[in-house]
């Protein structure tokens, strides 16, 4: 499987233990199991000796991965630099907020590469499990990969420990997995929106720079200032579900109106104690709503004609 290959699952003793036949496969990848500072495989007593380890992609050209390298990863280790096929750009609008009815996560659906709309129908909100969704911003490829890795690690945790990892724990895990890549070109800014059984609604922002922030309202991306203006004005704890969804839609709409790198559709997810519900809509219908700028411009032009 592709994810296995990237994370080098096949090289590890765990893989050899479970799939002894494939041990003879040829691989020249370096041994890259990370155990966060523990030199020996720490085995959990409860789960019949399954080692506690995380499989994450390696940094290219690095020798057996040291959790505490003496030098931070420097680009001079690259003997070959890959040239970019197109200019990367991180244009998006995603937002999340908590209210009395749970958590709302919303995002636009435009993927841009420089001045080109690479894809007008991207899913920027991905469910990780039944009570957690992740909104992604930054580099689309990096976000997709790390979401898959996160989903796999959460599932493994659930299988090993027979309980779901809390949202805080998920955020911490993601932050630690991203840490070795700090200073490289990995650009990932995720907002974890979920519902914890013990704590209730939770919203945590995790970034590849190392930031991990808990909060009630987050908006990420090039369109985020526009969304913040609308959200700050209308957001109250006591909103009803319909009001919250329409507020999220309005905020993304205002951002797509002014930001060139956001647009197309708006995806909205609502997370409650029962799980997440998705609600997508196209933004074209909002042009017909009263009070929209287009109506204003029409009236404005008539007004100028008066002497």
């Amino acid at each position: 499987m592709a994810l296995e290959d990237i994370c080098g699952f096949k090289d590890t003793p765990v893989h050899r233990k479970w799939f002894p036949a494939s041990h003879f496969e040829d691989t020249d990848r370096s041994f890259h199991m990370t155990d966060f500072g523990l030199r020996r495989l720490k085995k959990s007593g409860r789960n019949s000796g399954i080692p506690l380890q995380f499989f994450i992609p390696t940094l290219p050209n690095s020798v057996p991965f040291n959790p505490r390298p003496s030098l931070p990863f420097s680009p001079s280790n690259h003997s070959v630099t890959v040239s970019r096929p197109f200019p990367l750009s991180h244009g998006t609008t995603t937002l999340g907020f908590i209210f009395q009815g749970g958590v709302i996560a919303a995002a636009d659906s435009r993927a841009s590469a420089g001045g080109l709309v690479a894809c007008p129908a991207v899913h920027k909100i991905t469910p990780i499990h039944s009570h957690l969704v992740v909104t992604s911003s930054g580099s689309g490829a990096d976000c997709m990969l790390w979401e898959r890795i996160l989903a796999r690690e959460i599932r493994l945790y659930q299988l090993r420990h027979r309980r779901c990892l809390s949202i805080c724990g998920t955020a911490k895990l993601l932050s630690f997995m991203l840490h070795p890549f700090k200073g490289t070109d990995v650009c990932v800014a995720l907002t974890l929106c979920g519902w914890d059984k013990e704590v209730g609604p939770k919203l945590i922002y995790v970034c590849s720079d190392g930031a991990r922030l808990n909060g009630d309202i987050f908006s990420v991306g090039s369109g985020s200032p526009y969304a913040y203006g609308v959200l700050d004005r209308e957001l109250r704890w006591s909103l009803s579900k319909e009001e919250a969804i329409s507020l999220a839609r309005e905020a993304v709409f205002r951002a797509t109106h002014r930001d060139a790198y956001s647009g197309n559709k708006v995806d909205i997810f609502h997370i409650t104690a029962q799980g997440w519900i998705s609600n997508c809509c196209s933004l074209e219908i909002l042009f017909l709503l009263p009070g929209c700028l287009f109506r204003h411009e029409h009236r404005g032009r008539c007004g100028i004609l008066q002497p």
């Binding site: 526009y226 704890w237 905020a251």
Partner: protein, 261 residues
């Protein structure tokens, strides 16, 4: 009065006389020829005394009652609030007001130069220059400085003809019905897009402008302190007394506590 008798000079940097029969357009270019002692192409550049930063929130929009202009009052130099009570909306004459963004020193100077030139025009030609003429004048005066460190982004709000223009030192001159300039402008834009319509009353327009500046100052670090609101109508500009946005913040907190947040 023939134009030949009044050589039109814009004496901002040089006082090169343009003599002879020259037309209005031609007289601009020779009189703006810059002496070589200007630090434009000099080998040594003057070091900046402090790090400059262009943080502000200003906005202006047109509605049935005229034009409304609003701005915050924080003047910042990177991380320092140099002045919490600056004035970012400068009246040019009784029916023209300009909001300033960019470097405040440059903006203040160019507003004064514009005011002087408009007054001279009025004296020479017996009529006031329209807002679009004033915008064109300012744009042409700023043109020789394109490519230098001059940074002026002004919206001129007047009341003759199409009365809202955005003029920028990199050459932009745009006519429109809604502008917001500065680091806090995205936050203000979304509020304005939601609420601004042609048929607003003056009070409604004032409260939208105040709310937009408040939201921008809430999220942007370089905007803050108070808000100035100017209303330009056929009778001229009127200015509301400066309001501290701290009050707005406490009022909103109270409202949120009442809602059970």
């Amino acid at each position: 009065m023939a134009l030949q008798d009044l050589p039109i000079q814009f004496g901002q940097i040089s006082t090169v006389q343009s003599c002879g029969a020259v037309s209005y357009q031609d007289s601009i270019l020779p009189s703006l020829s810059l002496p070589t002692s200007l630090p434009l192409a000099s080998s040594q550049s003057v070091p900046l005394p402090f790090p400059m930063s262009h943080g502000t929130t200003t906005l202006a929009f047109m509605f049935q009652g005229g034009v409304l202009a609003a701005a915050d009052t924080r003047s910042s130099c990177s991380g320092l609030v140099a002045c919490p009570a600056a004035q970012k909306i400068l009246p040019v004459h009784s029916h023209l007001v300009g909001t300033t963004s960019g470097t405040s020193a440059d903006c203040a100077l160019w507003k004064r130069i514009l005011a002087r030139e408009l007054r001279l025009y009025q004296l020479r030609h017996g009529r006031r220059l329209s807002t679009s003429g004033a915008a064109k004048l300012l744009s042409h005066m700023l043109h020789p400085f394109k490519g230098t460190e001059l940074c002026v982004a002004a919206t001129l709000c007047g009341f003759s003809g199409p009365s809202l223009y955005y003029v920028c030192s990199d050459g932009t001159r745009l006519q429109g019905t809604l502008f917001s300039v500065g680091s806090g402008s995205p936050y203000a834009y979304s509020i304005l897009d939601q609420g601004v319509q042609w048929g607003l009353t003056v009070d409604e327009a004032t409260s939208i402008a105040r709310e937009a500046v408040y939201r921008a100052t809430h999220r942007d670090a370089y905007s803050g302190n108070c808000v100035d609101i100017y209303h330009i109508s056929s009778k001229g500009w009127t200015r509301r007394s400066r309001e501290d946005l701290k009050e707005e913040y406490y009022r909103e907190k109270e409202r949120q506590e009442r809602d059970g947040m």
